[in-house]
């Protein structure tokens, strides 16, 4: 039996979503108030719409 098989983490999965911040709304807002609406669009309290630009997932598993 390998040591990996005895480990307590089987997998770590990283999903990185990147969002473009459209240039509208309050330019002074640091975009600390992002929220996701019912259509999965991220928005900011300052009025800017935040659009999903990319999504990528990497997985590191015990067998690697």
């Amino acid at each position: 039996m390998s040591l990996d098989a005895l480990g307590c983490i089987a997998k770590v999965e990283l999903t990185l979503r990147t969002y473009d911040v459209l240039e509208s709304g309050d330019p002074a807002c640091p975009h600390l108030h992002l929220w996701t609406d019912a259509t999965e669009t991220q928005r900011c309290a300052c009025g800017r719409t935040v659009v999903l630009a990319s999504e990528r997932t990497v997985i590191e598993s015990a067998s690697e």
């Binding site: 990996d4 480990g7 307590c8 983490i9 089987a10 997998k11 770590v12 999965e13 990283l14 999903t15 990185l16 979503r17 990147t18 969002y19 473009d20 911040v21 640091p30 975009h31 600390l32 992002l34 991220q42 935040v50 630009a53 990528r56 990497v58 590191e60 598993s61 015990a62």
Partner: protein, 137 residues
Amino acid sequence: MPLTQSMRDLLAKFTTTEDSTSERFGSTGAWVHVGSSTAAFSSTMNSLQSTGVVMKALDSGYPKRNDGTESTAANILAYRATYTTSEAVFDWNEFGMKNSSSTATGTGTLFQRLLSTEGSKPNTQTWQPTIKITLTT
């Protein structure tokens, strides 16, 4: 696998209740750490390896465990943070969960460290890493 020795020891402390609440990876105790180092992982590490590591508190509603969305089983932990346009504007190469906002190796416990070349974060985007850790027998 990127489990650290310090997290191994903390898991043992959890079972004997020797841990303190500040050591737990809950909504207020867990921090996402991101850095630029590409140094190989060693289980003796207790921090990310670059000098410019940026940590973030979890997004509202996180961590999730067995919620049916981000975590689909009782043994999957899901953590997520959102880095705003001005934060962590550098090459993203290393990712870790820590029970401290401190980037110092002598403070807190680093759960794991994952290496992945994700490119350079521009100051025109927000980036949102979600880290899912699956524990097993």
